[in-house]
Symmetry: C2
Subunit: 405 residues, 2 copies
């Protein structure tokens, strides 16, 4: 691909993302909806101007790990740990309910095979942490108690999703599952979450030292981005989702990170602020690319809109996808407003669901009808919750838990 | 390419660039030498860890246009225009001398064909504006009178280089040259340089307006990068080098830009400063990628080091490449120290020469020996001048023209 064509692609993406986001906000909708919509408009669904070429996809991946880094920066790790048990309940119930319901509908009602039914269930499991987080940030709700529960649950959910994807993939190729390997992956992932922030914190101390002594400007942007890329790579290496590496790095560098190690690694407020200032423009540049590329990956034209089977199947799966995530919060001790807000926040499927669906199609597990039904479900679960969340928050924010903006 | 592999590539590039740049500065060398060297070390010349894959090359291209944008931001357009006639003399003489000398050596001394000889001459013409500018910035000399002359000359030289490349390419494929088309291109390019800054200035007024009214953070990074990408694309569309589009956009947004149009488009100091602050981290992130990728594109192993012909040919071309650029400043009215400084600044060939050499090899105009000789010349002209410039500047800065840091 020639540089000038790429420049044109990138500028169309950045500009349409911005224009649609501004329009969305003026229509009282979350800006992320505008960015997703921009991708649908300029992508294969409508005008077909832009192909999601490799370089764009890779820059989009940088965008999502940087967004998770930013969310980590703003996260209070004490409160995240405090809401831990609630997050686990919300995540685990919200993961297995759509998996089992989706499997049951496919297997018993539509007579699909075991593998296909499991893969359909799997597609319905994973909350799109990116979209959820962006909406929570858009309405400045990410630091609320509910926001912390959702954040923790989305992280756990994402890990479960990756483990399930690996299991299903193994099952589809070899016909069986190696539980020892699965156990190893789970241990690796847990160790990663305990050790990565410590390691990132140590590295940040080294970066701070060099930042004070370097004569060449621009040390922070390159080293902090390198740090985030490193932990994303490391997360993948231990079998965890890459974006969680960005999150771990962000937590470690946040102003509220604490360590029992004492004073050497204590957080330097002004250094944390400098990092935020220097990273902000870079994050703002890359993040919209991710959401536009999610929009580009959806091809509404490829769906067979005339088939009633697709619609009935979609509708049942959609109900499963929504109900499956609303059930989880019923098992934690909160008022019903908070439960509903948490449940709604877990509904968006977005990019993770699309990856499942695409993998299913490419490995001939899904035929076109099943793939179409799943894409419809993913699109609707991605587009509807931002609106309902924003509306609900506006109307009932006084009924919600301790609200800390 | 998978995202996690790309993350690893990118972080190795960013980190090695930084480490080698820091080492270079501690050894009293320009930091850009460190970045080029990083590319040589991690690339095919030594360890071969990193391939310059497409996504990296495209990010590198963004890096170079952003660097030119930054240089434009720091440029005083009045002084650039004032030094215009001197720049033209330096550029034109420094362009045609190596072209004709390189041609003559190849055609008469080494009995090469007309096309091959012209292509060799062409490879020796183009100053690497990126490397020259980085060295001038490293030693804080870019805003000196000599710096302005070099900047103007490098811009003109780059335009001449692109026109020549197009002509030679046409000649090599069709056997003739369409002078009407060439004339059109030259008119387009001149119009671009007159109109682009006006247009960019107008767009920046719109951006400033939206920046004041937008409720979503991060407007400046996306819109300013879009602006730079747009002018890079536009430059290519009219037949000019893309990086000059970035330069034109930078000039328009600089604090020192002026327009005879009156007060509507007057420069807002605080807005210009905000742009600089917001763009700085992005520029610092992308720019090193470019210089590392230049290093990655050089394969020192592919050179047949044992052949004496290659060495003799290289040596003659190297002398041509150096002498050709030192002669130009002799025709302008400056003292000899300034002339030598200007001449040395014009010597680096870098990426433009590599593009010529690569095109020559791919279209079978150059055999391996000629290609190797040219790569040696490009490497030496790229690596030596930063050292001599820094040394000369340190020793004789008091003898140079009005020095405005």
């Amino acid at each position: 691909m020639q540089a000038h064509t790429f420049f044109l692609y990138l500028l169309i993406i950045l500009l349409t993302a911005r224009i649609f986001a501004e329009l969305a906000v003026r229509m009282k909708s979350p800006s992320v909806i505008g960015e997703l919509f921009a991708g649908i408009v300029i992508g294969p669904s409508l005008f077909g101007w832009i192909q999601p070429v490799e370089a764009l996809k890779l820059m989009a991946e940088i965008g999502i790990i940087l967004l998770l880094f930013e969310v980590g920066l703003e996260t209070d790790v004490r409160r995240l740990i405090n809401s831990g048990s609630k997050s686990v309940v919300v995540a685990v119930i919200g993961f297995f309910t759509p998996l089992l319901l989706g499997y049951a509908i496919s297997y018993y009602l539509f007579d699909l095979s075991l593998l296909v039914s499991l893969f359909i269930g799997g597609t319905l499991t994973a909350t799109s942490i990116g979209i959820t987080i962006r909406v929570l940030k858009d309405i400045r709700f990410n630091n609320s108690s509910e926001g912390q529960i959702v954040l923790g649950a989305a992280v756990i959910d994402d890990v479960l999703g990756v483990v399930l994807l690996a299991l299903l993939y193994e099952f589809s190729t070899s016909g069986g599952i190696n539980w020892v390997n699965t156990g190893k992956v789970i241990i690796f992932v847990i160790s990663f979450f305990v050790l990565a922030p410590l390691m990132a914190k140590l590295i940040s101390v080294i970066i701070r030292h060099f930042n004070e002594t370097s004569e060449i400007p621009g040390l922070l942007p390159t080293t902090i981005v390198s740090l985030v890329l490193f932990f994303a790579w490391l997360a993948h290496a231990v079998g965890a989702p890459e974006l969680l590496g960005g999150f771990a790095a962000g937590i470690a560098l946040s102003r509220r990170f604490f360590l029992p190690l004492g004073t050497i690694l204590r957080t330097d407020e002004s250094f944390a602020r400098t990092i935020e200032e220097q990273m902000q423009p870079i994050i703002s540049l890359f993040t919209p690319i991710f959401f536009v590329v999610v929009g580009l990956s959806i091809n509404l034209r490829a769906i067979d809109w005339g088939s009633p089977d697709v619609w009935i199947f979609s509708l049942l799966l959609l109900l499963t996808a929504i109900a499956g995530k609303l059930i989880g919060p019923l098992f934690i001790r909160e008022n019903n407003y908070s439960r509903l807000m948490i449940g709604m926040s877990m509904i968006p499927r977005g990019e993770v669901g699309l990856i499942f669906a695409e993998l299913g199609r490419l490995s001939n597990i899904f035929n076109n009808q099943i793939h179409a039904a799943l894409v419809i479900v993913i699109v609707l679960t991605t587009i509807i919750p931002p609106f309902t969340m924003k509306w609900f928050f506006k109307r009932y924010s006084h009924k919600l838990l301790t609200f800390n903006p």
